[in-house]
């Protein structure tokens, strides 16, 4: 029994890498529900792996859905990776603008009723519905990304310390600016993105007290077009660059590509978000992406599915921050190489609590 547990820990640990320290604390495994072998790589001291308890995974999106080149895609990728390794089936469902809580609850209910064992709701709008539906299906495991208010023995909240990662790219901007003016472009003016703004502003100020910051949001709720409107992002960025800004942090989902274009067009810097955008951007643009604020949503969803599969599920909130690699900054392109030591110093200070990053602007 003891060996099996150790082997499982090693096996999952090997797959997850060092990113997920502290997230796997295993209760006892159960031998029930055998659904065939998994494709997880066996570790060197090959102990037979327990079998996965997950055959069907579902991801329910909020409005913006997949294809944003960022957050939703990452959340999906994590679940998808888990699905491939576990040999499970994955299903995505989408939302509509005039959805009520009742509609969202029914969406989760249908998934639970159709035998999906691990159900992920992306976005805070699923909080109320998940609270209700989780109680109706106690044997099914749910996760909600970006919300920490659902309290149930079968629900996990996946939260990210976006402000911490934003602090670091803000510090990078503060150190690299030559005009002492930096910009922030958010997709939609909602608390989630204001958290990015707050962290970024704090980072800028910390690294460069003389710097000033300009802030704009592309749209306001319930208009979520700001997440997927590159031309709008481009115009907003051109305006800022015209205004003396030389580095813009684009926390703007799919609209970010427009900001990066504007940076390339005018010979300025931009900063990407969620994914390492240097690797995603076209060749002509990538050399203007200073760094990216990484929000590893894939880690959160992957970890959740795997924990359900191997009975190591833990209810309650899992926060992914600097301390466990859930957020960070990208170094692709090598544009922040000369300040990396300082950024890492800041990161260590945040982890140690010497710097407290605000969550609201």
């Amino acid at each position: 029994m003891r060996d099996l547990r150790l082997g499982r820990l090693l096996a999952t640990g090997a797959v997850l890498g060092a990113l997920l320290a502290g997230c796997i604390s295993a209760p006892t495994p159960s031998g029930a529900t055998i659904t065939g072998p998994t494709t997880l790589e066996p570790t060197k001291n090959a102990v037979p792996l327990p079998t996965s308890k997950v055959t069907k995974i579902a991801v329910a999106y909020d409005l913006t859905g997949r294809g944003d080149g960022g957050f939703n895609d990452l959340a999906y990728n994590g679940a998808k990776q888990a699905a491939e390794e576990l040999g499970a089936e994955i299903r995505e469902v989408t939302a509509k603008l005039d959805d009520t809580d009742d509609d969202r609850a029914e969406r989760l209910r249908l998934l639970a009723g159709a035998g999906y064992e691990a159900i992920i709701g992306v976005g805070f709008t699923y909080a109320g519905p998940m609270q209700i539906v989780a109680a109706e299906f106690p044997d099914i495991h749910f996760a909600i990304v970006d919300d920490g208010t659902v309290v149930a023995p079968n629900v996990q909240g996946i939260l990210f310390a976006e402000h911490e990662g934003s602090f670091l790219v803000g510090a990078a901007a503060g150190l690299q600016t030559t005009t002492n003016t930096v910009g922030f472009i958010g997709a939609v003016q909602i608390p989630l993105l204001q958290k990015f703004e707050a962290g970024y502003a704090a980072g800028v100020k910390h690294a460069n007290p003389a710097a000033t910051m300009q802030v704009t949001y592309l749209s306001q709720p319930p208009d979520y077009s700001g997440f997927g409107d590159p031309p709008h992002g481009r115009e907003a960025a051109l305006g800022m660059y015209d205004n003396g800004v030389d580095i813009i942090f684009a926390a703007a989902g799919g609209s970010g590509s427009g900001v990066h274009e504007a940076a390339a067009q005018t010979g300025h810097w931009s900063i990407g978000v969620d994914a390492d955008e240097y690797l995603l951007a076209p060749e002509a643009v990538r050399d203007h992406i200073l760094t990216s604020m990484l929000k590893n949503a894939n880690v959160g969803t992957y970890e959740f599915v795997v924990s359900v599969a191997y009975d190591t599920f833990v209810a309650g909130n899992q926060t992914f921050g600097l301390a466990n690699g859930g957020v960070g900054y990208a170094t692709s392109g090598g544009f922040v190489d000369d300040i990396r030591s300082r950024l890492d110093e800041f990161a260590a200070d945040i982890v140690a609590g010497r710097i407290v990053v605000p969550e609201t602007p």
Partner: protein, 361 residues
């Protein structure tokens, strides 16, 4: 005999429209790689379950109110695109005031409903005044006012002003309305859920709409103006006054659209409040041909399609198929009624011609 044929002809229009819409849907489903008959059958089976039907009725209530609001404007060819902004602003104001006061149950509810009516009325009256005094096209001004309403709500719905944010949540909401301001649900026997109590008010609105239109002077003036503006003006009906009145009335009814959700379900206004109901209202009014019962049928059909669409996602078919289905239904209704109108006109001409020929000289 002719009357019977006329009635049959009138019924063929919606039947033909529905037939055409489903034929198009079947083609799309086939193109998407699904079995159309099995898929539509699944959706229908799900839609006809008692719990689903209850949910459909609840979903249809705001659609109906939005439909009537649109229909009021349609009588004067006023396209009130602003229903969306009107109801969101009204629901927001109603939520704020409803949470701020303490009153005994019936008074509390009456106050909230009155606030919503007045705010919707006032917001639409701006567009009405601009139209009457300055000749500003109502479509343009109401679209603009939607944007203004969005901005106004975004400004006020902030923890710094009229709203609050729960710890761990990414949602911002107004304070909850105390229970004395809720609308009691209509309980149903068995385990099928309950009907939103606002249904009663929606029915009352429908009856009032019918009464005013068919039994009052104002209603007569509106209908006369709708048939022929010149004839009505010559007859002494003051067009500007009537336009302003109609626009404001449309807005007052629009003010109620958000209340079933606010008073019957969420009890507070937040970032997750349903948006876009106003646009559904326009389609529903067209489907229902501005008739109080027709709009009710239209709202029910619309809600039924939306709700049934949830199972399509599970079958791996994008539920946008239903959006296409809805659009085709609206278009084919318009076309079918126009065809019927022409056929009837020709029949009438022939009938008159025969009567004249057959008459003794």
């Amino acid at each position: 005999m002719t009357r019977l044929r006329g009635a049959a002809l009138l019924l063929t229009a919606p039947a033909a429209a529905a037939g055409l819409a489903f034929a198009v849907a079947a083609v799309i489903l086939r193109l998407a790689g699904a079995d159309p008959i099995a898929t539509l059958g699944d959706a229908l089976a799900y839609g006809l379950q008692p719990t689903t039907l209850v949910a459909v009725v609840n979903k249809a209530i705001p659609y109906y109110l939005a439909g009537i609001a649109a229909a009021v404007g349609f009588h004067l060819r006023l396209f009130n695109i602003g229903i969306d902004g009107q109801y969101r602003l009204a629901a927001f104001a109603a939520a704020v005031i409803g949470a701020a006061v303490a009153l005994p149950a019936p008074l509390h509810l009456a106050l909230i409903v009155t606030v919503a009516l007045v705010v919707g009325w006032g917001w639409a009256a701006i567009a009405g005044l601009l139209y009457v005094r300055r000749g500003v096209n109502v479509v343009i001004s109401t679209i603009m006012l939607n944007a203004v309403a969005t901005g106004l709500i975004a400004y006020l719905l902030s923890p710094l002003r009229l709203a609050q944010q729960a710890p761990g949540s990414n949602n911002i909401t107004t304070a909850p309305i105390p229970e004395s301001g809720w609308i009691p649900p209509i309980a149903l026997p068995g385990d099928v859920g309950s009907i939103n109590g606002f249904l009663v008010i929606a029915v009352f609105v429908g009856i009032a709409y019918w009464l005013v239109l068919s039994r009052t002077t104002v209603g007569f003036e509106v209908r006369a103006m709708g048939f022929s503006e010149r004839a009505a003006t010559v007859a002494g009906i003051r067009a500007p006054r009537l336009a302003l009145l109609t626009m404001a009335a449309s807005g007052a009814i629009a003010g109620l659209v958000g209340l079933p959700q606010l008073l019957g379900a969420s009890h507070r206004f937040g970032l997750d409040f349903p948006a876009g109901l106003g646009f559904t209202g326009l389609s529903v009014a067209i489907l229902g041909r501005n008739h109080p019962v027709g709009v009710a049928i239209g709202a029910f059909v619309w809600a039924f399609l939306e709700r049934s669409a949830q199972v399509l996602d599970l079958a791996g078919i994008s539920k946008e198929v239903v959006a296409i289905l809805q659009a085709v239904i609206v278009l084919s209704i318009v076309v079918a009624y126009e065809l019927v109108r022409r056929v009837r006109a020709r029949q009438e001409r022939r009938y008159v011609a025969q009567a004249v020929e057959g008459a003794p000289a």
